[in-house]
């Protein structure tokens, strides 16, 4: 069995992922228009969506909710997601 093949695969995946992130950042060109996800999303990698500007709470509600962004207002309560 050729173990070198697996080493290479890992390298290729990492390289691919890095390249897609770097090209996204380059395309961004500092105009603040990063998309929610990178253009290329290789399998078996976990991704966190990039926040986009949207609604905001008023300062009063923000402090009591613990976030300025309704999108991020995700209280974790016992019982799991389908409670």
């Amino acid at each position: 069995m050729n173990l070198d093949l697996f080493d290479d695969m890992e390298g290729i995946i990492l390289h691919e992922r890095e390249a897609s992130l770097v090209s996204d950042m380059k395309n961004n060109n500092g105009n603040g228009s990063m998309t929610r996800f990178p253009k290329n999303t290789p399998l078996a990698m976990a991704y966190v969506p990039f926040q986009q500007w949207g609604e905001t709470y008023g300062d009063d509600e923000a402090l009591s909710r613990g976030t300025l962004f309704p999108e991020l207002d995700l209280p974790f309560s016992k019982g799991g997601a389908d409670r």
Partner: protein
């Protein structure tokens, strides 16, 4: 709530909103809407702090402007609930 506490709680809300915008801008440094909102809240905060220190004394030691008295040690402390 008395006026002093109301003013302090306004400052607290402005501080929180500014911190949230600070964190957002760390990852979105070119977002003009966040920048505009940051500027607006910075002004609201500095107006509120100015009003507070004028009426109720310093919130931090470096805000002491009295040339006769070290007003920082006068009661109540900014964090005291009365």
């Amino acid at each position: 709530m008395n006026e002093r506490n109301m003013l302090l709680s306004r400052i607290k809300k402005y501080d929180f909103t500014l911190k949230e915008l600070n964190l957002y801008l760390d990852t979105h440094p070119n977002c003009r809407r966040a920048l505009a909102m940051f500027r607006k809240y910075k002004e609201l905060r500095s107006d509120a702090v100015e009003e507070f220190t004028k009426r109720f004394g310093p919130i931090t030691p470096e805000q002491v402007s009295d040339t006769q008295n070290w007003t920082w040690v006068e009661d109540p402390w900014p964090w005291e609930r009365r």
